[in-house]
């Protein structure tokens, strides 16, 4: 177990480092200079490929230096305080320093600290609902396989999930908070300040994300459950004289959850790296919206930070999924 963790954390760290390098390479050797983008924005478009202003911008942002030295500076900032100079102004950036946003010269680390709780809250609430709604309905449908209830459930999840997500989100915000006030207004309140306000501010978003995502979980868990219910050991459990509920929950569901856990792990990782549509539509300043805006203007430090969040989340999710596997299935050895 311990050596498994060490091994997986080391290889995970490698992946994270590689991802951060890739982002730098993309910005340095990508088709369009990030400096040009920023220069155009600052001068309302009066900045071209050959204008002398661009030179200044490239110099200022460090694109004239070799990529490894810039990457080195950035990486060193993660463990050591550094001062970033833009022109003649120096900005103090404490470790772990993720750089300075090109757009407004705010510290990326501070922004991340501010935005991550929002995304985290969204991810936790939505993913819990995936399981709490999706799995029980899937199990129910599997047990009544072929019945009217099963067919109605399966086809309604298909219909629901074939409506584009942004439409569902947009309509529910318009109809349920703006025009009717059925749900409290969506807004972020820090959990530690007022847990009740935190809860009510996210309620609608969670329900929209959770219900929409749960449709997929209904289908996964139904399929997996149908398969497991045909297993010999389920028949054995029945032949022992166990109650139906015990057979389904203790004997069938535990096996049926194994494939669901894999998908769930990856889904949580992607939720943690930002939910672009949700944050955009409900106007929540999370990671997703931040990353999207940063990509438009080629804001390297911000894009780098959001890429790192995704990489770390995916790596961690995979490790956790493997541990959960070994807990569910004793045949799986962590090594």
């Amino acid at each position: 177990m311990f050596s498994f963790l060490v091994k997986r954390l080391l290889s995970g760290a490698m992946i994270v480092v590689l991802v951060s390098m890739m982002v730098f390479l993309l910005f340095f050797y990508g088709p369009k200079s990030p400096a040009l983008e920023l220069c155009r924005r600052d001068t309302h478009g009066r900045c071209g490929e050959t204008s002398p202003r661009l030179e200044q911008y490239e110099e200022r942002l460090g694109y004239n230096n070799p990529v490894y030295s810039e990457y080195g500076k950035w990486a060193k900032g993660l463990v050591q305080d550094r001062t970033i100079y833009i022109g003649s102004t120096g900005y103090k950036c404490e470790a772990p320093c993720l750089g300075l946003s090109y757009r407004d010269r705010t510290l990326v680390t501070d922004q991340l600290k501010e935005r991550f709780p929002i995304t985290l809250s969204l991810a936790v609430g939505a993913s819990l609902l995936y399981l709490m709604i999706g799995v029980p309905i899937g199990v129910l449908a599997a047990r009544r396989r072929g019945s009217f209830a099963d067919k109605a459930l399966v086809s309604s999840t298909l219909v629901f999930s074939s409506i584009p997500y942004y439409l569902v989100a947009l309509l529910s915000m318009l109809l349920l908070t703006l025009s009717t006030h059925v749900f409290p207004t969506v807004a972020y309140h820090p959990f530690l300040d007022n847990p009740f306000k935190w809860f009510s501010g996210f309620l609608l978003v969670w329900l929209v994300m959770g219900l929409y995502g749960a449709t997929a979980y209904t289908r996964y868990s139904r399929g997996s459950m149908v398969e497991v219910l045909n297993e010999d050991y389920v028949r054995t459990a029945k032949a022992k004289g166990l109650k139906d509920r015990v057979v389904v929950i203790r004997h069938a569901l535990r096996s049926a959850l194994v494939p669901v856990v894999t998908i769930f792990g990856l889904d949580v990782a992607f939720l943690l790296s930002g939910t672009v549509f949700t944050e955009q539509i409900f106007d929540l300043d999370g990671i997703g919206k931040w990353g999207l805006e940063a990509t438009y203007i080629k804001d390297l430090p911000v894009v780098q930070a959001t890429a790192l969040v995704l990489a770390v989340a995916v790596v961690m999710a995979n490790i956790i999924v493997d541990i959960v596997y070994s807990v569910l299935d004793p045949r799986v050895r962590l090594s």
């Binding site: 032949a239 166990l242 004793p330």
Partner: protein
Amino acid sequence: MSGDPYLEVTDLSVRFPTSDGLVQAVNGLTYSVELGKTLGIVGESGSGKSVSSMAVLGLHDPKAARIEGSIKVGGTEVVGLAEDKMRSLRGNSVAMIFQDALAALHPFYKIGAQLGEAYQVHHPKASKKEARKRSIEMLERVGIPQPDRRVDDYPHQFSGGMRQRAMIAMGLINDPSLLIADEPTTALDVTVQAQILDLLQDLQREFNSAIVIITHDLGVVAEMADDVLVMYGGRCVEYGACKEILTHPEMPYTWGLLSSVPDVTGDPNARMIPIPGNPPSLLDPPPGCAFHPRCVHSSKVPGDLCATTLPELTVGARQGHLKRCHLVDSETIYATEVLPEVAPDLAIHLAEENR
């Protein structure tokens, strides 16, 4: 025969309505088993052996299966019995052991947990500790070495034979009066097969339970059974005492089964003769005798009786021996035509005996 039968199956039919039509898995099946006795049900895949036994435990989905007739277990009618009453029988007075123990034991739970669960469900007052003690006792009884340690193993840590032993231990943990063994040795090595059969016989002597053993292996039947029931296409085609059926079979399908058993000790010139053709469709069974399309002796029956009329299950040439066949002189045909081909030495022996 003495005493009342513990399991009494009368005119049992099991049908499954499907989108393609009605599947007639079991049709008009009648048999009985007494305590301390063993019935062997023989037949090829799809002949209705397992389906009929699952009906005894009420394991068919009531929405998918139509069950008619009567199944009496220790005097209680099981067909149409309420689910909670059925549940108190299952694993308690009637237990079932399955073919492939690796698939039939839950891969995620320890052997001890699975045995203990089977005990506790019918002994709700028993503590976890008592259930564990009982599990260890049963594992010891079926010959698992170091049962107090192996009780904490998972099924995948057991060998094939040990898994089947554990399965038997689980079946017997509540002292059932009736044990249904569905191909208990099919997935095992030959040497292990013999050990498992010995174990079952020992346990039967000890607990005096009735055993129904389902198999396609006539060797298993010869070793274990007091009575034999041969099934074909969902129907009983021959039923009688084991020795009687094996030495004086009267139905061509049973001849076919006997002819297709390899005999290592017998005449090296003996041939192993497979039964031609395929098992009948249960969705659209052939008219008349279900076996007639594959039967090489149907030409000996006058007219096309075999193809038009289903033979009744009647007493054949010998007493206490039921057969479903139109052949009149089946005993002679077997002795003169079938036996010389498959076991020449036995045929000569039999001919001398009859002289």
